[in-house]
Each structure stands twice: as C-alpha cells, then as structure tokens.
C-alpha cells in the first residue's frame, strides 16, 4: 500500500514563527501536493510539484513556499506564520494523472 506520511498530526505555533510541514511518500510518485482544508471551503491547493526541484503555485500560494529536494519528500514552509493559517494541512502524492493518496493531515494552530 502507498504510504504518505506527514511528520506531525498536531502542531501549535506562535504568530511570526517559521513553520515546516514535512511529507514523505514511499511509492516513487512524481507528483506531490499540499492542500489546506477549512470548514465550508473544502480542499484548496497551495502548491504542487511534478518533479524534484520543480514546483507550481496552486490556488492559494500566498504566505507559503515549498521545497522538493528529493523525490520522496515535499516540504511546506510558512515563512512567518499568521493566525489565518490555522488549518488542516493535507499532503498527497500521485503518479501521472492518477488518483491522489493523502497523508493523515497536520492540524496547525497559530496563536
């Protein structure tokens, strides 16, 4: 089974902190994604990567950056966390245009 692992299930940070969310997949997938999920807003794409060191902005990239130095790892970075970035963050991976496999999510609270 494909496994997508997110480093933390819950995270509490302070406003202005730099935050790293890590995601690792074990199926050699080319594509990796970061979504955030908020009540009533569904899943919104922040960034995605289709190859090592390649990235593209999603629908809501402001306030975020990403890093993909190795194929299996995709990191989401909040340069200076703000309270409106409190959310559930979901990482996913896929091969080609096939289905997404999601991690268990990281519930981030910014105080």
């Amino acid at each position: 089974d494909v496994k997508v692992t997110q480093s933390s299930r819950y995270l509490v940070k302070r406003t202005g902190e730099k935050v790293f969310l890590e995601c690792v997949q074990d199926m050699d997938h080319e594509n990796m994604f970061w979504y955030r999920q908020d009540p009533g807003l569904g899943l919104r794409l922040i960034y995605f990567s289709y190859d090592v060191k390649m990235k593209e902005k999603g629908d809501i990239p402001e306030g975020y950056s990403v890093s993909r130095e190795k194929k299996e790892r995709f990191s989401l970075i909040l340069e200076s966390a703000s309270t409106n970035q409190t959310s559930m963050y979901l990482c996913a991976s896929s091969s080609g245009g096939e289905k997404l496999f999601f991690g268990s999510g990281t519930q981030l609270s910014v105080l």
Binding site: G40, L41, L43, Y50, D59, L90, S94
Partner: protein, 111 residues
C-alpha cells in the same frame, strides 16, 4: 483553473434512505474523481470516470458522468451509518495532474 460546484453542502438522512450528491461544471471535464473523507480522517479515492455517459457501481454506490461531461453524480442506495462522511468530486484543472476539488457534501446518517 477548472471549477466544479458541488451540491448539496450538507445532507442528513435516515438510515435506509437514498443519498445523492452532484458535481457541476460550466465547461467540459476531461475526467472526474470521487473521494470520501470519514470524520477525523483524510480523503480516500473512490473512483474515476472518464467517458461520456459512463456509469460505474461499487456495491451500493453508483457513479455517473454526464453525456456532455459537465456534470457527475454519486448515488448511495439504502444508506448505512458507515456511509457517514464528506464526499468530494475532483477534476484536473490547468494540468493533468493538478486536481481541483469541489467543496464537498457532508452526509450524516441517523440510525
């Protein structure tokens, strides 16, 4: 990017009743995927529809793709408490591997 409208936002049914959620687009979709997210869980892929007019079944779940490939539906016959969760449709937007999700339909089932 590609946008899909999903309705209803919420649906509460008695166990044994049927349930349907709809996904609509103003433009032709190349394909559509459906995901289920249990409460506290992450989205899990259910199915992908590609062909115009396609109908696929998984036990009590029936998935349809419209003739014009602008809409899709998920129908559950005789709901059970295990069907509780949020159902999302998703479609490629901009590039083949970037999925845009509908806002989801939250289904609750009264036993």
């Amino acid at each position: 990017g590609q946008q899909v409208m999903q309705i209803p936002q919420y649906q509460h049914v008695q166990e044994g009743e049927d349930f349907t959620t709809y996904c609509n687009s103003s433009t032709t979709l190349s394909n559509i995927q459906w995901y289920k997210q249990r409460p506290g869980g992450h989205p899990v892929f259910l199915i992908q529809l590609v062909k115009s007019g396609e109908v696929k079944k998984q036990k009590r779940l029936t998935f349809q793709f419209g003739e014009a490939k602008k809409n899709s539906s998920l129908h559950i016959t005789a709901t059970q408490t295990t069907d509780v969760g949020t159902y999302f449709c998703a479609t490629p937007g901009g590039s083949n591997y970037k999925l845009t999700f509908g806002k989801g339909t939250l289904l609750t089932v009264n036993p």
